[in-house]
């Protein structure tokens, strides 16, 4: 079954049946990751490029490994070591890559909407690996995949997103995806870090952590994006931690078998305590594994079929 669009740009525009198709396919892909020979020949002869204008460890590594496990070829371009340093524009860089025969560009860029822009100007597929404060759809999908694997469903779950939602593309992608799949989304943050553009999205917003944690099935902790805090939106990391840090004591309010998630990289002792990060209820390492499975599913669904 083909996806509705040949690009994956955000979860806001992705139909719920496509998300379900991706999550189901990822279940099959996860089995491959457990094999001693982690490679299937499916995407032989396909090639993709990761084009990252921002630093990344897990997203980029997992896209590249997903490509290798599916037998596609991948190259990676990082801004620091490329002609972008010489002032080449995004479009010129993308066209150069396409001229070499690449079937897909996976891009991370600090400007919101940049992936949409790119998708309108290239022939191949575009996957958004994070654009500014807008969307990070593959993170949203892998978070939903992890929740579904542990709890067996998404519908009716209470998912609490904690932290810097204003700057967080992970939060936005989680909200769009989870609400479409029938989960109940709550958000807790200091009011200066709450997003202003929730529109008619059905999200319960709290400016204190405790009421948002009550009965939560999943707590998704966001990274405090210290690099995006220029305007003094909260007094200090220490004070943030005192009021909004997720620790064992506060988690007693949540469901007894609550899952604690974090997209990484963590600021240990700021948004999440070390005991919680390393506790059995934390799925942080598993999220990374699942990220590879979800990205394999996307590569198959976008590159696997015939060109029309």
């Amino acid at each position: 079954m083909k996806l509705a669009s040949r690009h994956v740009l955000d979860l806001e525009t992705m139909p719920a049946e496509d998300m379900k198709n991706i999550l189901d396919t990822a279940e099959s892909m996860k089995e491959i990751l457990g094999r001693s020979i982690k490679k299937v020949p499916t995407l032989r002869g396909k090639s993709l490029c990761t084009l990252f204008y921002e630093p990344s460890t897990r997203t980029r590594a997992s896209f590249e490994l997903a490509a290798k496990y599916m037998s596609a070829d991948s190259i990676s371009i990082a801004t620091a070591t490329s002609s972008i340093k010489k002032g080449e524009t995004l479009l010129d860089t993308a066209r150069t890559i396409e001229a070499m025969g690449v079937d897909m560009i996976i891009m991370r860029h600090p400007v919101s909407g940049s992936s949409h822009f790119l998708s309108r100007h290239v022939k191949g597929a575009v996957i958004n690996a994070g654009d500014g404060m807008h969307a990070h759809p593959t993170q949203g999908l892998l978070d939903m995949f992890t929740m579904r694997q542990h709890l067996g469903r998404l519908e009716g779950l209470k998912v609490t997103i904690v932290g810097d939602a204003l700057h967080s593309r992970v939060a936005r992608s989680n909200m769009w995806g989870l609400i479409k799949m029938g989960a109940q989304v709550c958000m807790a943050a200091p009011s200066t870090l709450l997003p202003l553009d929730l529109g008619d999205l059905d999200v319960k917003v709290y400016d204190r952590l405790e009421p948002a944690l009550e009965g939560a099935d999943v707590v998704n902790v966001l990274r405090l994006q210290l690099e995006r805090q220029k305007r003094g939106l909260f007094p200090s990391a220490r004070e943030y931690s005192q009021f909004y840090g997720v620790n064992q004591e506060r988690l007693k309010l949540a469901s007894p078998d609550v899952l604690v998630m974090h997209p990484g990289p963590m600021n240990r002792g700021v948004e999440i305590s070390t005991e919680v990060a390393d506790a059995p209820m934390s799925t942080i390492d598993e999220q990374v594994t699942n990220g590879v499975a979800v990205r394999m599913a996307l590569l198959y669904l976008l590159l696997g079929g015939a060109d029309e």
């Binding site: 079954m1 083909k2 020949p41 198959y300």
Partner: protein, 186 residues
């Protein structure tokens, strides 16, 4: 294009007898069930593998392990098909090393599915031997592949379609029917 039913070439009783005979042939050829495992190819090879395992258990009082193989990721027509097949899980819960594997499928036709299944199996480990059991062999091979155990050989034309119906999958009584593909003009 539509399909018109032409003939029923095997009914439920015939299928039952064919599987019982194949079970005995498997035991005879392998001298028992030592190191034996069955692997069904999705979809209809899977219930057939379970049925064979049940017969082997009745005859030898030993439960033979059964695995499930999804060959979607190994197909050779992925880049030419516009309807993208859904990938399902491969579930082989035993180590293939040193095992005698009997691959099970419903219809053997071009041999391309079996080629894909062989590649998929060998990616999971190195069995001692792989054998092939099919309910129907309808000919028209495009690859040098043959079955070790055959329920029934049926000469067919390429414009015909052989469809195996199983209770577990199709919710009808077991049968094998030949349908004719009718090309309609306009």
């Amino acid at each position: 294009m539509r399909l018109q039913q032409k003939a029923t070439i095997m009914d439920g009783d015939g299928m039952r007898r064919a599987l019982t005979r194949i079970a005995h042939e498997i035991l005879e050829k392998n001298r028992g069930v030592g190191n034996l495992a069955l692997v069904g190819i999705r979809r209809r090879g899977v219930p057939l593998a379970h049925r064979l395992a049940k017969r082997l258990a009745e005859i030898e009082q030993v439960q033979v392990p059964v695995g499930i193989l999804d060959i979607t990721l190994y197909r050779d027509d992925l880049t030419t098909r516009t309807d993208q097949p859904i990938v399902q899980k491969t579930e082989v819960p035993f180590d293939l090393r040193g095992k005698r594997i009997v691959l099970v499928d419903d219809v053997l036709y071009t041999g391309r599915t079996i080629r894909a299944a062989l590649d998929a199996l060998i990616d999971l480990g190195r069995p001692e031997m792989i054998q092939l059991a099919v309910l129907i062999d309808r000919g028209h091979r495009e690859l040098p592949i043959r079955a070790d155990y055959v329920g029934k050989n049926v000469p067919t034309a390429k414009r015909e379609n052989v469809s195996v119906r199983l209770e577990e999958v199709d919710e009808t009584d077991d049968a094998v029917v030949i349908e004719e593909i009718i090309q309609e003009n306009g």
